[in-house]
């Protein structure tokens, strides 16, 4: 502070002296001593060095922009191995992480072996202890006891030089061996060598991306304000250090007495003054947004046109705009960003395209970064322009009948019962009893043999079905981060199942297992279909982006159970990547609602933990099947129709 005042005072004195020297050349005619001049030049150069030093420690301070182009990322199941192993450890208290992992893997191996290798638990434990359960020596040694084989020295020595720690290698081999024992198809070698790196990268990047957006969304709008200041005017550091040009030019110019160098200093002064002159005009900007189609079909390209207007009476030289593309939609053409300069009252517009997806998509606030002409100062704002895109896909039936459990209501329909009655399919013949309708008498037989017999048909009854979709936050999963996620695909499948069942004459309802309560009682008719179609597309429970967890899940689950009337069938769509889903299915089944589980497999095989989550999911599937619940495993690359076709084929034989 004192230094600065002193510099200011000396500066003013020097300015006065120079003016005096220009106006009255005689008055300040003392000749400057050579030593004094050199000393001043040296001081100026010293100051230049100080500025350079300061510049080296000062980074630019600029706005970091969000990435609205990509839809929000959903992870593949299996974030870390430890939490996946939790259920194998029960309530055991083990403090060391490595011991926990080792114990968990051992339990998992025993469980898998006793389940798939038709061994008893003791046999499985024995096999794990002695290491005979697998050919993989690393895996055998990792969870085996004293007698288990260990890898020979000649592979352990080169391994010690690799980056992967022995513990990690052991865990990876063990998980792979368990996966092989559980019959999980192993990924090709290429996949294991390349994928992990990429997946982790994507994960890390996309995480920052989404968190960025979240904060942006929640940031500072109070009430219905048109715009909100998210960061007040601050220096960007763009011109920091420009005074070096002036200082070096003048210092060196004085020392070497060259006019050219001295004049370079003048250029430096010019730029330094320009940088200091910066002031951000308090301009106000408004935006508006139009869509080429606000009720598109899924997959349609929608053109978004954004118009920016400078409402102030000053030039705004540097406006950088990033539109708030809905979190769930991807930009397919052009960029939702623009950099533009606007004169007072001027406006400009730009266009980009997004691909529509099922759901209600609200455009978030638009990020605006305003800079002044010199780029030295900057300010961040959020501008609001409410726009909503609603995409309600049509419901299309699939060719395949939906497999249902054998239990039915009292209405005529499709479920084939094991009793005879009115129907189409031949069931049995029996002796004629008085009172049987004439049309049911087997007249051919009567003509041939003279006996009176009655033909009976298989009794067909309508089922009352509720399709329940697992849309808890944990179900938003996908093998690739920016792919369509499991919930999206499950909801699409729910729509297809709904029409297919309704076409077959069943009474169908829709519900969601989620934080948002969603319930459509079984019914039939055109209106009912329309309601279901809208519900599946627009209800918040089926939102294309995960909703934050609130702890009303248990209440919703119980309410859902109470709403089901006796004998109602449940088709439950869930990825089965945590125990909650399978627990829910089992409870419903125990309460007398026949459950069929259709489970989309969103697992990836990039990391060890993801690999293990495949094993855990497979165990859940077989446990559920063990309790008598049919589980249809729907692999990620298949359509639901193909999956059902395969299932029907297997069970009709």
């Amino acid at each position: 502070m004192n230094y600065r005042r002193l510099a200011l005072a000396i500066g003013i004195v020097a300015l006065g002296l120079s003016l005096l020297a220009i106006v009255f050349p005689g008055v300040v005619a003392f000749s400057l001593d050579r030593i004094v001049v050199s000393g001043v030049g040296g001081l100026v150069l010293l100051q230049a060095v100080r500025v350079i030093q300061a510049r080296r420690h000062e980074d630019r301070d600029e706005a970091v922009t969000p990435d609205p182009e990509l839809p929000s990322a959903t992870p593949p199941p299996g974030e870390d191995l430890e939490s996946e192993l939790e259920r194998f450890l029960d309530a055991r208290q083990i403090y060391y992480r490595q011991t926990r992992l080792r114990e968990g893997l051992r339990e998992a191996a025993v469980t898998v072996l006793s389940q798939y290798d038709s061994q008893s638990t003791t046999e499985a434990e024995e096999a794990v202890e002695t290491g005979t359960w697998t050919d993989d020596m690393y895996a055998a040694a990792f969870i085996g006891g004293e007698q288990a084989p260990t890898p020979p020295l000649r592979v352990r020595v080169p391994n010690a030089l690799r980056r992967e720690s022995p513990f990690k290698r052991g865990a990876r081999h063990t998980v792979d061996a368990i996966a092989a024992a559980a019959g999980v198809p192993s990924p090709s070698n290429k996949d294991t060598s390349q994928k992990p790196q990429r997946q982790e990268d994507l994960q890390a990047e996309s995480d920052t991306g989404t968190s960025q957006r979240r904060t942006d969304d929640s940031n500072g709008f109070d009430g219905k304000a048109k715009d909100a200041l998210t960061r007040a005017t601050h220096s960007t550091g763009h011109w920091t250090g420009v005074s070096v040009v002036a200082l070096v030019g003048i210092g060196a110019g004085i020392l070497v007495e060259q006019p050219g160098v001295l004049l370079a200093g003048v250029v430096g002064i010019g730029y330094a003054a320009y940088a200091r002159s910066s002031a951000l005009p308090p301009g106000s900007v408004s935006i508006s947004r139009t869509l080429s189609d606000d009720r598109p079909e899924p997959g349609d390209e929608v053109e978004v046109t954004v118009t920016i207007t400078n409402d102030s009476d000053q030039l705004l030289a540097d406006l950088r705009l990033i539109d708030g593309v809905p979190e769930s939609l991807a930009v397919t053409d052009n960029s939702p960003r623009i950099g533009t300069a606007l004169r007072a009252g001027e406006s400009t517009s730009y266009t980009y395209s997004i691909t529509a997806r099922r759901g209600v998509h609200t455009f978030g606030p638009t990020t605006l970064i305003t800079r002044d002409l010199t780029s030295a100062r900057e300010q961040e704002r959020l501008l609001r322009a409410e726009t909503t895109l609603t995409c309600i896909p049509p419901l299309r039936a699939i060719e395949e009948p939906v497999p249902l459990r054998a239990q039915a209501t009292q209405e005529v329909g499709r479920v084939e019962t094991a009793t005879s009655g009115d129907g189409i399919e031949f069931y049995a013949t029996r002796e004629y009893r008085p009172g049987d309708p004439m049309s049911r008498i087997d007249w051919n037989r009567r003509a041939r043999t003279g006996e009176l017999t009655t033909v009976e048909f298989r009794k067909e009854r309508a089922a009352s079905v509720v399709i329940v979709v697992d849309t808890r936050e944990e179900a938003y999963l996908s093998p690739e981060p920016h792919d369509h996620h499991a919930v999206d695909r499950a909801v699409d499948a729910a729509g297809q199942l709904f029409v297919t069942l309704a076409d077959a004459g069943d009474r169908v309802g829709v519900a969601a297992l989620s934080e948002e309560s969603c319930w459509l009682a079984p019914g039939s008719g055109v209106d009912h279909r329309d309601t279901a179609r809208k519900l599946l597309a627009t209800h918040p429970a089926f939102s294309p982006v995960p909703t934050q967890t609130r702890s009303v899940l248990v209440r919703n689950r119980n309410r859902l159970r109470k709403r089901l009337s006796a004998g109602t069938q449940v088709i439950f769509l869930t990825p089965l990547c945590d125990d909650y889903g399978s627990e829910f299915a089992r409870r419903l089944d125990e309460h007398g609602y026949p459950v069929t589980v259709i489970s989309l497999d969103p697992t990836a095989s990039g990391t060890t933990a993801q690999r293990f989550s495949q094993v855990a999911r497979r165990l859940r599937l077989s446990n559920l099947r063990g309790t008598g619940i049919p589980v249809i495993d729907w692999s990620w690359d298949d359509s639901v129709a193909a999956t059902l076709a395969r299932f029907n084929e297997r069970w009709s034989r």
Binding site: L8, A21, V267, S335
Partner: protein
């Protein structure tokens, strides 16, 4: 679904690179040290512009500036020094702005307007100040006392440093 392309803005990069070439070309004719320092600076600026590295552009432009000063120290030439130093400052300013636009808006966005406005303003400042300096040199040195110029420059530096 590609990630956003965050490379520096094209037009500004091109202008910044051209300014760096001018700064190098003008100073390199006059002295060997300037040629060496300037060449390093030019390479750094170009690498910085291609890879989007602020520090490379800043250090490279500083090298070009030093090359210009070296030319001035070793010769009596005036206009090459002025042009070279101005071009070095322009290469720095426009280059870092290109990187900043690239990182905030990406390459796919339409950013020509802010780029043009920024470039025109910066070049304008450079032209005006170097013309003023050159005019001062041509008209002033013969009859105005050198003392006046000395005090004037000292005053300018001190005032700039204190009035931040």
């Amino acid at each position: 679904m590609n990630r956003v392309d965050r490379e520096p803005a094209q037009l500004s990069s091109l202008i910044s690179g051209s300014a760096a070439v001018v700064a190098f070309g003008v100073s390199a004719f006059y002295s060997w040290p300037a040629l060496v320092v300037g060449a390093i600076g030019l390479v750094l600026v170009v690498v910085g512009l291609v890879r989007g590295l602020y520090n490379a552009v800043t250090v490279g432009a500083f090298g070009l500036f030093v090359a210009g000063i070296l030319t001035g120290v070793q010769t009596t030439a005036v206009s090459p020094v002025l042009i070279s130093v101005t071009a070095a400052v322009l290469a720095w300013d426009i280059g870092t702005n290109a990187i900043s636009i690239g990182s905030q808006l990406g390459r796919e966005a339409d950013t020509r307007r802010i780029e043009v406005v920024h470039v025109v303003a910066s070049i304008g400042v450079g032209v005006v100040t170097s013309s003023v300096g050159y005019g001062l040199y041509v008209t002033g040195t013969s009859d105005q006392p050198i003392t006046a110029l000395f005090f004037l420059l000292i005053a300018a530096v001190l005032l700039l440093e204190s009035l931040r």
